[in-house]
Amino acid sequence: MENQDEIPVEPETESSTFISAYEADDWSNYKDSDVMLQQSAIFEEDAAKSPFVGDKEPLSSLEAEYKSGSPILLEKIKVLSEQYAAIRRTRGDGNCFFRSFMFSYLEHILESQDIAEVERIKTNVEKCKKTLQGLGYADFTFEDFFALFIEQLESVVTGNEAPISHDELIVRSRDQSVSDYVVMFFRFVTSGEIRKRSEFFEPFIFGLANLTVEQFCKTSVEPMGEESDHVHITALSDALGVPIRVVYLDRSSCDTGGISVNHHDFVPASDDNDTSSSAAGGSDPNPNPNPNPIPFIVLLYRPGHYDILYRK
């Protein structure tokens, strides 16, 4: 049965071409599967151009990028190069913040073999799990992502086996079945933290996106490929208890004259916020003995994108 014939629809002026049955036939040839195939083809094209996590490059490669660009940026890169030696790029697929954080964190653990830090973050991961359970998430929706992160974490420290090599860490970070699962783990953790402390995050979210906390988490945190903002960074840093420094490279200049590069340190809120109710049980007796001087994770922010920075 053909419904087009039965309903007297007044053709709208702007979409009258769309209404003809022939056009509709053409459109019906485009199925969701076609759209998704095309989308994945585009992703693959991008993938060929840049891996999820790139190679370490000297900071001069950043300078080369802006050679004929804004003089303010070139000045700022010069300032940056006094403190930072190298950059590692990540793919601009909307997951760059989480991906940068993943690599930077695991690389730090691999190099420092900081067992205390590993134990500390494991405790936090366990709390995040309880948070999600408290919020009503079914275990099977997130447990695979949690398990994969713990697996990666354990693979970079000396346990029963020797830690994986640095090259292997890079290989894994570029392997979609590992890399995307860890990104998704961070997305769950971030979403759980925001929802647990919704009163705290609400005004920031409202200012950013004019959405409720619930809507924000559903549309801008949990789906892969959704870009991160300071709300995400704050939540992830708080939830895992890992400080993050973000260095901003943009065109803003100070009125006072001299060029400087702004940075912001996201320092985890002290444990167990009073506003949280769902994370009850077993509050941490450890009052953060070391009020972290400088975060070991340093990310370079350029509008819309995060990469990893390395100190000198």
């Binding site: 419904n3 629809v9 079914a138 099977f140 997130f142 995307d180 997305r187 559903k218 789906p223 490929g225």
Partner: protein, 157 residues
Amino acid sequence: MQASRARLFKEYKEVQREKVADPDIQLVCDDSNIFKWTALIKGPSETPYEGGVFQLAFSVPEQYPLQPPQVRFLTKIFHPNVHFKTGEICLDILKNAWSPAWTLQSVCRAIIALMAHPEPDSPLNCDSGNLLRSGDVRGFQSMAKMYTRLAAMPKKG
């Protein structure tokens, strides 16, 4: 592939457990292929779909749950966000707003919610969308009800 299989198996067990809790949804996995599912959902009450039973077909990609399942109506339905011919569904969580926090079961719930709350501003069925957008609620409801009777209800006699 292995990850998606494991996840679907967990969903399968969960579906068996939830059967009683959610009588409006009957989700069944294909006997021989865990990537193919069908669902029978009841049209929500106080909508033109009330009394109808609608069949959905799920095709789950290998990258599940990082990528959403493809879902379409097998039963003909007159709804602004469902393609009248192909049964394709326009729903954000089946596209860019998908996340692994969703399950096949909760997707069914979201589709039932969409049946009760159509979004005529992003129509896949323009005729249906135009009726609602022009304020002809009665016209929309009678068309939708007619198709529910024709396609989604057991034949009498």
